[in-house]
Symmetry: C2
DNA sequence: CTGAATTTTCAAATAAAATTGAAAGTAATC
DNA sequence: GATTACTTTCAATTTTATTTGAAAATTCAG
């Protein structure tokens, strides 16, 4: 397979992966394009490579910068901005985990926790079932969130070590 | 807060959570409704509670059964089917992880692995950058996939233990 | 300052995903 | 084997999400 074909397939696959997990497909594709490029790219480069509009390019590049996955580069003597992706995949993963936790998990878990104090008759079966479900979610979410937090702060050797530990 | 209001908010929150992570919002809401119910519910009950059509109800209940998150119940003497959710949250989590791995991770990682054999000049910088990115993804994905696999097979005490181990 | 290069915004258009509902299918009962 | 009580399917519709592109804003160089 030739490089161009492989890159194209990589971009498609990464886009599908993102899309399946609630990330805008184009955002994931821009990310893939930058991950697969040796050099930083301008908005024009991205527009041409993915055949998308300037507005779309701008929005998604900004989002990737907000997510801490893409960096802006200013080349001296040039006015145009160039963009490059963070290439350390462990760092990329942590960054995504961190942002998604902040944006999509924390707010929901805050709501779920508030719901645990429902007033009502102690031997109402419906109420019991509901609070029991919320309790289960809370117990699980606390452990998971704590583990995730540790993961986000850890370096790769921690992950490898943890991985090995858990293997036994 | 009254039970009905709390249930409603729970259903909304669970729907938003699913939607953010690439799961059909209604499917997540049906799941929430069943998670919050003491007794199994019929299609009519679900239609009424969520104000959705019969077709929609049927599709999403079937999907939840496919995912192993909801069980069908036949009450003797009744023709109607009733549905109840798996309430053990640790089991629910493992089941979701298992299904998503199978449906959305494995196929993509198979594609990405194929892309690692790209032909071309060994000192082409673009080629080097591309293969290096794929190598990084592969290394990470292998570890993550293995950990996930172990998680899926584990029981809750394993998770709690692992959690404690990783805390130190 | 002024103007050219570039980026950003966002209302309107388009595309994608989800939903409806009625017709077709299935299965239990008499 | 016909009737009834459901469940399933899927083309058409509706809703939601994404994308476009042109106008406005910004930034830099002279």
């Amino acid at each position: 397979m030739q490089l161009d074909e492989a890159k194209e397939k990589f971009i498609q696959a990464w886009g599908t992966l993102g899309s399946n997990w609630g990330i805008n497909r184009t955002m994931a594709q821009v990310h893939a394009l930058l991950l697969a490029s040796a050099n930083s790219l301008s908005a024009e480069d991205i527009m041409a490579a993915l055949r998308i509009s300037r507005g779309n390019t701008n929005m998604n590049v900004r989002a990737l910068i907000d997510w801490g996955l893409v960096y802006k580069e200013i080349r001296s003597g040039e006015r145009k901005e160039y963009f490059s992706a963070e290439k350390d995949i462990w760092h990329v993963f942590k960054q995504i985990a961190k942002e998604r936790r902040k944006r999509e998990l924390e707010p929901i878990f805050r709501v779920l926790n508030d719901l645990r104090h429902v007033e009502g008759d102690a031997d109402n079966q419906e109420l019991k079932a509901f609070t029991e479900t919320l309790r289960g979610i809370h117990t699980f979410a606390s452990k998971a969130d704590n583990t995730l937090d540790r993961l986000i702060r850890a370096d790769e050797s921690w992950f490898s070590n943890a991985f090995l530990k858990l293997m036994k």
